[in-house]
Amino acid sequence: MIAPARPEYRVVVVGAGVIGLYTAYHLLKGGFGPVLVVDRGFLSSGASGRNGGGVRQQWETQATVRLARESVAAYRRFGSDFGYNVWFRQGGYLFLASSAAEVGQLRSVHAVVQKEGLASRLLAPNEVPRYAAGLALDGVHGASFLRSDGTLYPFPAIWGLYEAIRSLGGEVLLGTEVLSVARDAGRVSGVSFVNGSVKTSVVVNAAGGWSKEFSARAGLAVVNQPSRHEILATEPLKPFLDPMVVRLSDGLYFSQTMRGEIVGGLTVPHPPGIGAGMATSPHFLTSMARALSTLVPRLRSLGVLRAWSGFYDDTPDGLPVIGEDPRLTGFVHANGFGGHGFMLAPAAAQRVAKSVMGEGTDLDPAMFAPGRFLGAPSPATVERLQLG
C-alpha cells in the first residue's frame, strides 16, 4: 500500500514493530477501527527484526513478571492464533552472577518470580553444567534458571501480526514517515506525511528507538533515550546449548537458534542517540568475541557470520511508558521498552489498546503511566534487569 485508503481513522499507530502491530491487532479485535499503522521503514527493519529473540519472565518487578508471563502464554499460542510458527522454544534462561552482590540480585528476582508461581531455581556454580555444558565457571558465583523462559524467531511474529491486521480490515502503510501531529484545542486531530495527511483523534507512539523523536514532533519532551546495541550470529552448529545464557556483570547474552547459529550480544558503550546510525563497531566484535570465547572455550574457532545493531528505547527507571500523555489528549505512549519490547509485547500492547479504548487497565500508573516522569523527583519503582 502506498497511500492511506481513508481520510480519517479512529486510531493511527506509529511504528509497525511488534508493539505497534500487537496494539493495532488488539484494537481491531476490540472493534475499535478503522486503524492505520504507519512505519518509516520496511517490516522488521527496526528493533523487532534485530533482537536476539529472547523471551523471559525473570524480572525484578512483579508487574513486569506478570506481563512477561502473559506474553509467554501468548507466544505459545501464536501458531494457532496467527498461522505462523514462531518456533518459541522454552529452553530456559540462565542468569550468571559474578559477585556476591549479583547473587543477591538474582535472589531477589527469584523471590519475585516465585511469588508469581513460576518455578525458577537458584543454582550453585557446580549445578550450572546441568543446564549449560561447557561453560568456564571460574568467576561464576551463582546462577538462576527458569525453564519456561525461551527464545523465538521474531520475523514470523511480525508476518503473522501483519497479515492478521490486514485481514481484520486494518491498514499498514510502510516506507512512510509521520512528519507532524496536528492538534486542535489540546487534542490530537491528525497526522501528516510528506504527501498528505489523515484525520484522527488518537495517535499511538510505538516508534521504539525513534519514539523520543516522534514525541518531539508532537511537541512533547520525554525522558526516553535511544541507545545503540550490537549483536552477532555465528556459523550454525548442531544443537548443544538449550538455554539463553546471560551474564549480569557485562551484559553478555547468547543462545543457539533453531538453525544452530549462536546469536548474542554484549553491552558496549555508545553515545546515546540515533545519529550515529546502526553500523557495527570493531570494539563490539572484539569484546564480544573475547567474552564469548572465554566463557565457552570450545567455541573459540567458531566463525562469526555477521554482526548488526539496533536501538533500545531506554527510560530512567527501566520500565515502559504506557498510556495517554497528560499534556496532549489522544497521544498515547507505547514505548520505552528498552531492548525488551518483544518479551512484553502481547500483554503490554493489550493494555495500550485498553487505554486507547477508554477501558481501565490493571497497570499501576506510578510504574507505567507517562505522567510519572512529569514533576516527580524520582521514580517510585525501578527495573534494573535490562540485559539479555
Binding site: S45, Y84, S281, L299, G303
Partner: protein
C-alpha cells in the same frame, strides 16, 4: 583480488602428530601447499557435504572458502572449508551432517519425502503439545558440524598492527598498478591480498594471504580515518590504520539458478580452477562451460580437452569462438539451461535456445559457471560508499568521480570492482587511483569505459523465460546455503512481501554462510521480474561484517579496537 589462493582454512588446529593426513580414516596423499579438495579430486570430484534442510548431496562449488558445500571437521573442529584448508601431517578429517557418509546419507530421504519443500513458516504448529518434539527434531536436522570436541590449544598469534599513509587492497592488475605508481612516488604504502602477492615494488610493504574482512565507517576527525580488520591465513588478526585506502578487490564468478543448479558437478569458474593445478587432469571429462566472455575463454584454455560444449545465455565473444573451434567444441549462444540430470553427479544438461520450446540434451559431468562477474563490493558497502546499479553489469558498483574518488573522502575504488573492463582500463584506473590518493590531479583526461549503466542485464531475459517455464518436478534451489526454494520467494511476493530486505527475512535467502554472495545477485533479478519493477528498486541487503566468516579467537586477539571516543 586473487581468489584462487589457498590458505590454512581459517581454523586453529591442534598440533599435528605424524603420518599422512587421514580423511574418514584413510590416508590421503596431499602435495605441499595443496588444498584438501584438490587432493581428493584426483580420485574424482568428492561429495563432502549434505545440504542443511533437505540433505541434498553437495560437492565443492566456489573454490574460495565462501560457500557451504565443502565443510569438513578437522581434528575435532567443525566447519572447516576443504577448498582452502591445506592438510598437515597427522590431521584427522571427518565429514559432517551426514550418516553414514555424504555420498550415501540416510537423511537424503528428506529430499524425496518433502519433494515440495518443508514450510517452517507455517508448518509444525499443530498440535501445540507437540511443539517440544518438533523443536527437537528440527534442531537436530539444522546446523552443520557438532561443536568442537576440545578447546583448540594453538594460539592464533599476536595480531599484526600496522599504520600507513596509503593502503591498497587487492593484488590483481588494478591493485598492482596502484602499488607500482605509489612506489614510484615513494608514498608509504601497505599492499594486501587474500592470496599470494608478487614481489612488491620498492618501498611498498606487502602483506600476502591477508584477507580484508571489515572496513568500518571512517572517523573523519582521526589522523588515520580508516581502520581495516583482516585475517592472515584465516587465523591471525591484522588491524591496519590508514589515511587513504584504494580498494581494488575485483570481482567473483557468480552463481546461476536453473533446475539442478545445486547438483554436484555444478561449480563456479573459480571453483573449477581451484580443483586441480595446471597440468593435472581435473575431476571431470566433459564439462559444460556456461558463458561466452573472458572467463569462458580462460576455462577453455585451461580445460580444453575436457570441455564438452559452451553454452551462453547471451552472445559468445570472438576469442571464445576461435578457441572453441580450434578444439572442436560446439557453441550454443543465446541458450538456457532447462534442467540437469543426475542426483549425485551431473550426468547431462537440458539446453534450449532462447525463445525456442524444444530442448536438447547434452551429456556432461560438470557445469562450469563463467557467465558473470560480480564486484567484490562488501568493503565499500561497509564503509558507507554510495553505490549505484549498473544495468548491463547487473550489480551495484561504486559511484566514482573522474579521479576514482568514492563518496567517502580518502577512499578510492579501482579496477573491475569499479566497473572497468579490459586489462588496459583496469591498470589505468589503478594508476589513476594512486595519483588521486596522493592528492595529485587526475592523470586521465577521461575515465576508461566502464560496464554500461543502462540497459538490462542479459540474465533478465534469461530469468523471464525461466520463470515462465514449467518445471514438472524437482526443487529449484535459489539459495544453496539455506536450501531456500524459488517457490518460497514466489510465495513471499504473492503474499505481499516486497523488496530484498523483507524477502530475505521472510525466506532466509542470502542469510547462509556465503552471506548471499551466490544467490543475491540473481535474487535481485528474479524479484525485479516477480514484482514488476526495475532491479534497482528492489534494494540491496545491508552488507554485514565480516566479509568472510572469521573465528571468534581471531577477533578476540585484537586489543587495539578501542571503544568509540577512546584513543
Amino acid at each position: 583480488m586473487v581468489n584462487t589462493a589457498q590458505w590454512s582454512g581459517g581454523r586453529e588446529m591442534e598440533p599435528p602428530s605424524s603420518g599422512a593426513p587421514r580423511f574418514r580414516g584413510a590416508p590421503v596423499t596431499v602435495r605441499p601447499g595443496e588444498s584438501l579438495v584438490s587432493a581428493l579430486s584426483r580420485r574424482g570430484l568428492p561429495i563432502l557435504q549434505r545440504s542443511i534442510r533437505y540433505h541434498r548431496p553437495r560437492a565443492p562449488f566456489c573454490g574460495v572458502g565462501a560457500c557451504t558445500q565443502c565443510l569438513v571437521r578437522v581434528n575435532g573442529q567443525p566447519n572447516v572449508r576443504a577448498c582452502t584448508y591445506r592438510p598437515l601431517p597427522g590431521d584427522r578429517i571427518e565429514t559432517e551432517n551426514a550418516w553414514p557418509s555424504p555420498t550415501n546419507d540416510l537423511l537424503g530421504v528428506l529430499d524425496l519425502l518433502f519433494w515440495r519443500g518443508i514450510d517452517t513458516l507455517h508448518g509444525f504448529r499443530r498440535p501445540r503439545s507437540a511443539a517440544p518434539v518438533y523443536h527437537r527434531i528440527i534442531r537436530r536436522l539444522a546446523g552443520y558440524g557438532r561443536a568442537a570436541d576440545t578447546v583448540p590449544t594453538t594460539p592464533v598469534g599476536a595480531p599484526v598492527v600496522r599504520s600507513t599513509a596509503v593502503l591498497v587492497i587487492g593484488g590483481g592488475p588494478a591493485g598492482r598498478a596502484a602499488a607500482g605508481r605509489l612506489s614510484e612516488n615513494r608514498a608509504e604504502t601497505l599492499w594486501i591480498d587474500a592470496g599470494p602477492l608478487p614481489d612488491s615494488p620498492p618501498g611498498v610493504t606487502a602483506l600476502p594471504r591477508t584477507r580484508a574482512i571489515f572496513l568500518p565507517l571512517p572517523d573523519p576527525a582521526a589522523e588515520t580515518p580508516f581502520q581495516l580488520l583482516a585475517s592472515i591465513d584465516g587465523v591471525r588478526a591484522a588491524s591496519i590504520r590508514a589515511r587513504r585506502v584504494i580498494v581494488a578487490t575485483g570481482g567473483f564468478d557468480a552463481g546461476l539458478l536453473f533446475p539442478g543448479s545445486d547438483r554436484p558437478g555444478v561449480m563456479t569458474a573459480e571453483g573449477a580452477l581451484s580443483l586441480a593445478v595446471p597440468g593435472d587432469a581435473p575431476p571431470f571429462a566433459r564439462a559444460l562451460i556456461v558463458g561466452g566472455g573472458e572467463r569462458a575463454a580462460l576455462l577453455l584454455e585451461r580445460f580444453g580437452t575436457f570441455v564438452e560444449a559452451v553454452v551462453a545465455p547471451g552472445a559468445i565473444d570472438p576469442v571464445v569462438v576461435e578457441r572453441a573451434s580450434a578444439l572442436g567444441v560446439p557453441l550454443y549462444p543465446r541458450s538456457l539451461l532447462r534442467g540437469v540430470q543426475g542426483r549425485r553427479r551431473v550426468r547431462s544438461a537440458h539446453v534450449a535456445h532462447r525463445g525456442a520450446k524444444e530442448r536438447f540434451e547434452l551429456r556432461c559431468d560438470a557445469i562450469l559457471l563463467a557467465h558473470r562477474r560480480v564486484p567484490n563490493a562488501q568493503l565499500l558497502f561497509q564503509a558507507g560508499v554510495r553505490m549505484h546499479w549498473r544495468g548491463a553489469g547487473g550489480a551495484y558498483f561504486p559511484v566514482i568521480d573522474h579521479d576514482l574518488t568514492t563518496s567517502v573522502p580518502g577512499l578510492f575504488a579501482a579496477g573491475e570492482l569499479a566497473g572497468f573492463t579490459g586489462t588496459e582500463a583496469i591498470e589505468a584506473s589503478g594508476r589513476s587511483a594512486a595519483e588521486a590518493s596522493l592528492g595529485r590531479p587526475a592523470s586521465l583526461d577521461a575515465l576508461p569505459a566502464r560496464v554500461p549503466a543502462d540497459g538490462p542485464h542479459e540474465l533478465e531475459g534469461y530469468y523471464r523465460e525461466l520463470l515462465s517455464g514449467q518445471f514438472a518436478s524437482g526443487k529449484l534451489v535459489a539459495c544453496a546455503c539455506e536450501d531456500v526454494l524459488l517457490e518460497e520467494i514466489r510465495h513471499a511476493v504473492r503474499d505481499g512481501y516486497r523488496g530484498i530486505e523483507v524477502v530475505k527475512r521472510y525466506t532466509g535467502v542470502g542469510t547462509g554462510l556465503c552471506q548471499g554472495r551466490y544467490c543475491l545477485p540473481d535474487a535481485l533479478l528474479l524479484l525485479s521480474i516477480l514484482e514488476g519493477r526495475p532491479p534497482e528498486s528492489i534494494g540491496y541487503i545491508t552488507q554485514r561484517p565480516p566479509v568472510f566468516p572469521t573465528a571468534l579467537s581471531t577477533f578476540a586477539s585484537l586489543s587495539d579496537c578501542a571503544a568509540p571516543g577512546g584513543s
